[in-house]
């Protein structure tokens, strides 16, 4: 029998429909693969019993002719989504033992579509990081290694466990969240597809909050078609999220026409950075040629405030985090460290419960919102954000999508970014601006670096025009014909 873990979602759905294999067989193959990939540390919690039960239910629905959209597809869930009666940690010590009594809307939507949960994936603590080095549950390892090297590499972050699970064929797809690039950058680092939809497309309800005006859930898959299938199952209006948008969810898969003749593709001058890896530059140029060859019109554009996106992000996101994470007080959930009095208990709990990067961001955010500094930092950053969003608005009067690299480099080694948080923050240089503007974006694996590591290209679209993003991404994927996979050293 073929290795079921190597199938795409669409092929697996066809295979189950044709009776070639059952959901139980598909799930069993993935449980085996997940267990064999323990060394990657992609999962914080594995739920094989839940998976087998769900797969059995899926098979019986299929037998009765009640098959749902993604019935029987085994998925990995970033451990930032609350899952009813299953430990949810946000990769933080402060949520020790937290077992939600409710299910996030996005994961509920997936289960209602027939999907199967394999487990909860590792991440940077509270999704704050770009390398998965800040998790309380340890580093996630990228399935990819440099050619001829055994050194472990980071999977990117913050959705690093989800990326590693999909790239190692432990899960057919995963869901992640993207605040400044946390789906797209790890997708680029692990050679998979990662899609951040428009802000408001997927409900934030039941997702552990980091920066509420930026957080957005999205799929991580091995093909663009699978991302379209997944997003359709995840998205939809939810009255429980006040910023959820009441719009019908299109048939994203139907958008993959393969035809981009006449599509206007913008190339932003400001994304050509000094000192950018020549390989990344070359891949971007290659991507431009691919789009042109497919009949797209290439148009040079300017997004003049690009360089201010990251500094604005590193005020806005920490400010929102300092407010959101105020709830971790040792009273309602997770860790409590006793103190001399109530205030001391709060302060000790938070000192022990939060890791260094989270504490740093909470202090920056608290400072930026504090009396006397609010206007200089937070208000200023929100005004700069308006100008960044306006740059995109102007550009989209001339173009339909924007093509850029996803990340400035391929995956790097642990500790390579040293102690300087700013060096780490620069990972989001190409993904952060679209997050601030709330725009949809996708990373498509497009090539390999000279030392054999995957590199992604990013396509950004107009608000709520994921269909055009998918259509262009499908063409890019075909042209790139990226078929490389990591050699499966982790199976030992």
């Amino acid at each position: 029998m073929t290795d079921l873990t190597k199938l795409t979602i669409s092929a697996a759905l066809d295979g189950m429909a044709a009776g070639d294999f059952s959901a139980r067989e598909l799930t069993a193959a993935h449980i085996t693969a997940m267990e064999a990939a323990n060394v990657l540390n992609a999962f914080i919690t594995k739920t094989p019993e839940i998976a087998v039960e769900a797969a059995t239910a899926s098979d019986s629905r299929r037998a009765k002719g009640e098959t749902r959209k993604i019935d029987g597809i085994p998925l990995a869930i970033k451990d930032l989504f609350c899952t009813k009666d299953v430990l949810t940690t946000a990769a933080s010590h402060i949520l020790d033992g937290f077992v939600p009594k409710y299910e996030s809307t996005v994961s509920s939507n997936l289960w209602a579509s027939g999907a199967v949960m394999l487990g909860k994936t590792n991440l940077d603590e509270f999704a704050m990081g770009s390398s998965n080095e800040t998790s309380y549950y340890g580093e996630v390892i990228n399935p990819w290694r440099r050619e001829g090297s055994d050194s472990p590499l980071v999977p990117g972050g913050s959705s690093g466990g989800s990326a590693s699970a999909v790239a190692s064929f432990s899960a057919m797809a995963a869901i992640g969240t993207d605040t400044g690039g946390s789906i797209r950058q790890p997708a680029s680092f692990t050679g998979i597809v990662g899609m951040k939809p428009t802000y408001g497309r997927c409900s934030r309800w039941g997702v552990v909050a980091f920066a509420s005006s930026l957080d957005q859930a999205g799929p991580m898959t091995r093909t663009v078609r699978d991302a379209a299938i997944m997003l359709e199952a995840m998205a939809g209006f939810d009255p429980k999220d006040s910023t959820s948008v009441d719009m019908p969810v299109p048939d994203f898969e139907a958008a993959l026409s393969g035809d981009i003749r006449g599509l206007k593709v913008g190339i932003p001058a400001e994304y050509r950075l000094d000192g950018m890896s020549p390989e990344v530059q070359a891949l971007w140029d290659q991507g431009i040629d691919w789009m042109k060859a497919a009949g797209a019109e290439i148009i040079d554009i300017s997004l003049p405030h690009t360089k201010y996106a990251l500094p604005a992000y590193y005020i806005i996101a920490p400010a929102e985090a300092s407010s959101n994470l105020a709830r971790y007080d040792g009273v309602r959930f997770g860790l409590r460290v006793e103190g001399d009095d109530l205030d001391d208990m709060y302060a000790r709990t938070r000192a022990e419960g939060f890791g260094a990067e989270v504490q740093r961001r909470l202090l920056i955010g608290t400072y930026a919102l504090s009396a006397g500094y609010y206007d200089a930092y937070y208000l200023k950053a929100q005004k700069v954000r308006s100008r960044i969003a306006d740059d995109f608005k102007q550009a989209y009067q001339k173009v339909d999508v924007i093509l850029t690299p996803t990340a400035p480099s391929p995956a790097f080694g642990f500790g390579e970014k040293g102690d300087d948080p700013l060096a780490m923050y620069l990972n989001d240089v190409f993904t952060g601006p679209a997050s601030l503007a709330g725009l949809p974006g996708i990373s498509v694996p497009a090539g390999l670096s000279s030392d054999g590591l995957p590199l992604g290209l990013q396509l950004l679209g107009k608000p709520f025009d994921e269909e055009t993003v998918f259509r262009a991404a499908g063409v890019l994927e075909n042209a790139a014909a990226f078929t490389a996979t990591p050699n499966d050293w982790w199976r030992g």
Binding site: Y199, M345, R360, L363, K383
Partner: protein
Amino acid sequence: MSLDKATVAKVANLARIKVEEKDLDHLAAELNNILGWVEQLGEVDTDNVEPMTSVADMQLRWRKDEITDGGYADDVIANAPGREDGFFAVPKVIE
């Protein structure tokens, strides 16, 4: 603007994070490094620019003022480290 040790201690207190005296210098340096980098926002002309408060052009929805949820206190406190008689339990606040 540059943060000194005393300001870091004050911010840490506002954030309710216990920071040891010996860590204040190091933290101040780290935070100043980040804030120094953020200073470049000052180069952007934001006169007459409204701060962005909503990502999508949308009005917040109104809903009917009615009870739609509740009645499961046990679930609400199920994850609390301290709970008594259906309440969250905290260290004594009033002498």
